[in-house]
């Protein structure tokens, strides 16, 4: 009998390793023969550790299970049909999951993430097999037609980036996966890497075929030790099985992937800073142009894509551009992966076609705040995204609609705060974070963020209020217009939105 206990970082942070051990012991003690599989998480983190038992009629779910619950579970009949408070019924019947439209996270939770057989049994490598039969231009065209836009935050059309790299002649080109997911409130990249790493490896390989690159790098942040473990294993196994290497599945085409670990610098999530870091340097922002697509890693044409963008590639190639395109609205095609976090009752990853509103997600899926107090502010799009008051929660979550209300969708992070939040402190923190993490290359960001903290402190203390508010506004304008990259350029977004929508929190 197969029993599944996730190995994902959040599941482990909630005791999944101990739960797995208790289940092994419990089964041994009762003479029950089990095969314990450490699967990936489904992203329903509010139910973690989510234990599943394979039966003839599908998988039965139990959760959230703590190690202390395990003896009681066995006593009530587990792993057979158990009458226990933690019984959730068939995993397919959990509405929170069943009502989602999973394309990128289709396999998440179903398989042992490092099992190649598991991956292939769920349509894995179909996209690459098809890509191996296609010309480079045909692959790029397929991606263009899908309407996929970069999921890292900037939302640049992926196919156009690839076309530039394909059209640029060079003796060596590179594929770089940006797995430096530093935004607070986001964990979709981590979930994908820890639940379905071969999807990323497949997407990168297809990217290599599409632009003529034979070398790939995954730049992973050091804060993700679980992802590191999974990726190391998956890359080794894919290489062993001929899905990576000098001759991919006998096609004569080569592609290799090397895993690189960051060293705790948020700014390295910015693509040019990431490239400098990969080159072994300080992670300083580069001037653009030249674009990395033309002069990237070591000056060579380089595709830099986010984990989710590369993940979507395998679906697009396996099922065709039209299939992917028909999800979504306007210029936001495919699915959106929203990550619900902060003060929320049912936090986790929700994948839906673009089109749902923020309120539907936070109140429907999220179930309101964890504290039970009224929600007051929601930050969308990571630490550089806007704080939105309740009057704006009916906004549709797509790239255009968020921009229209002075925010951004970014990487899809949604952080909920209840009514105990002090928005002046949140604004101050945005500046403080920028001061800590600025690469220091440009003055508006390096100095502006430090001055920003000081000015906000003066406003809160009610010193020369009108004057200091004007100074803060000027400072935000300078950072916005004068910074080299999004770090300094967008730090004003949370600050200004907090000031605009929650002025009462700033002293006076």
């Amino acid at each position: 009998m197969k029993i599944f206990v996730p190995r994902d970082a959040t599941a482990c942070a909630l005791g999944a390793d101990d739960v797995a051990e208790s289940i092994r012991e419990g089964a041994r003690g009762r003479g029950i023969d089990i095969e314990l599989v450490r699967n990936g998480s489904r992203g329903a983190f509010w139910l973690e550790p989510l234990v599943e038992v394979e039966t003839e009629s599908g998988r039965l779910a139990f959760g959230p299970v703590t190690p202390a619950d395990v003896p009681g579970l066995f006593e009530s009949g587990f792993p057979g049909p158990a009458d226990h408070a933690l019984t959730l019924g068939p995993v397919d019947g959990i509405d929170w999951l069943a009502s989602q439209q999973r394309l990128t996270f289709y396999r998440a939770g179903w398989i042992d993430p490092v099992s190649l057989d598991g991956y292939c049994s769920m349509s894995g490598y179909k996209g690459l097999k098809r890509a191996l039969e296609m010309s480079a231009q045909a692959i790029v065209d397929e991606v263009k037609e899908s309407g996929l836009r970069g999921r890292g935050g900037a939302a640049f059309p992926t196919g156009i980036k690839w076309q530039t790299v394909l059209d640029t002649h060079a003796d060596q080109k590179y594929i770089v996966c940006n797995a430096d997911e530093g935004d607070s409130g986001t964990f979709a990249d981590r979930l994908l890497m820890e639940a379905d790493p071969y999807q990323l490896i497949e997407g990168m390989t297809i990217a290599g075929l599409a632009v003529g690159a034979t070398e790939g790098f995954i730049y992973l942040r050091s804060e993700y030790p679980h992802s590191k473990w999974v990726l190391e294993k998956a890359i080794a196994r894919a290489s062993q099985a001929g899905w990576l290497g000098e001759d991919i599945q006998g096609s004569g085409k080569a592609f290799r992937i090397e895993l690189r670990i960051g060293a705790g610098a948020y700014i390295c999530g910015e693509e040019t800073s990431l490239l400098d870091s990969l080159e072994g340097k300080r992670g300083l922002i580069r001037f653009k142009p030249p674009l990395p697509a033309i002069e990237g890693l070591l000056g060579k044409p380089t595709v830099v894509n986010n984990v989710l963008s590369l993940g979507a590639i395998s679906t697009i190639l396996a099922k065709g551009a039209d299939y992917y395109r028909h999800f979504g609205t306007g210029r936001s095609r495919g699915t959106l992966t929203v990550q619900l976090s902060g003060n929320i009752r049912r936090g986790g990853l929700v994948e839906l076609p673009f089109g749902a509103t923020l309120r539907e997600l936070v109140e429907g899926y999220g179930g309101g705040t964890a504290s039970g107090r009224p929600a007051r502010a929601i930050q969308v799009g990571g630490p550089l995204g806007a704080y939105l008051p309740e009057s704006l929660w009916d906004v549709t979550l797509n790239y255009g609609a968020l921009t229209d209300i002075g925010g951004m969708l970014g990487h899809g992070g949604v952080v909920v705060f209840d009514d105990t939040v002090d928005m002046a402190q949140q604004a101050r923190f945005a500046m403080e974070f920028c001061a800590v993490e600025s690469c220091g290359k440009c003055t508006p960001c390096r100095v502006g963020s430090v001055r920003g903290v000081e000015v906000i402190d003066r406003v809160i203390a009610n010193q020369d209020r009108q004057f200091n508010l004007k100074v803060l506004d000027d400072l935000c304008e300078t950072m916005d217009k004068g910074s080299l990259c999004a770090m300094g350029g967008l730090t004003p977004m949370p600050v200004r939105s907090a000031l605009k929508h929650f002025p009462g929190d700033f002293g006076a």
Binding site: A13, P225, G262, A263, L278, G280, S341, N343, Q426
Partner: protein, 159 residues
């Protein structure tokens, strides 16, 4: 040259050999050194400079840029507290006060007995079950002041 300098040279040579041929070799080499020694000793900088054909300033610049690289030994256990927004929304600011008080140190410091080093971290990707902290390689979700005390008491009991 004393014996510890000789062995440091060996460790540096070994780290460089491990990553030979890689592009941007300095970062993986620094990670290897820190994994081995717990920090990157200043004496390693000229050795790396010679071996990688870089200036000492370049190496020092890289070590100084990244939060992860330490130039002094850390305590026996490294406690990283998430300071980012999702954790703030669940009481990380209050937790931070408690942790600093309990350990009697601020960020970047090590307790006098060498047991604990406290560091800030900006997101552990565990935002749906905040607040989060990391002790060595273990991440803990939905922590609180009392949960933190339990974890520390557990570590102290292992002594």
């Amino acid at each position: 040259m004393n014996s510890s300098a000789v062995s440091l040279q060996e460790i540096v040579d070994c780290a460089v050999a491990e990553h030979q041929g890689k592009i941007g070799i300095l970062m993986p080499v620094l990670h290897s050194l820190q994994e081995k020694l717990g920090f990157v000793p200043s004496e390693a900088v000229p050795m790396l400079a010679r071996s990688l054909n870089l200036s000492r300033a370049e190496i020092q610049g890289v070590i100084g840029f990244y939060h992860d690289f330490r130039t002094r030994p850390a305590g026996e256990h490294v406690v990283q507290l998430c300071r980012a927004e999702a954790c703030q929304a669940m009481g990380a600011r209050e937790l931070e006060l408690h942790v600093k008080q309990r350990l009697g140190i601020d960020y970047g410091e090590t307790t006098e007995d060498g047991r604990y080093t406290l560091e800030p971290v900006y997101c552990l990707g565990n935002c749906a079950c905040a607040p989060s902290l990391r002790i060595n390689d273990g991440i803990h979700a939905r922590t609180s002041a009392s949960r933190f005390d339990e974890l520390i008491d557990g570590l102290d009991a292992q002594e």
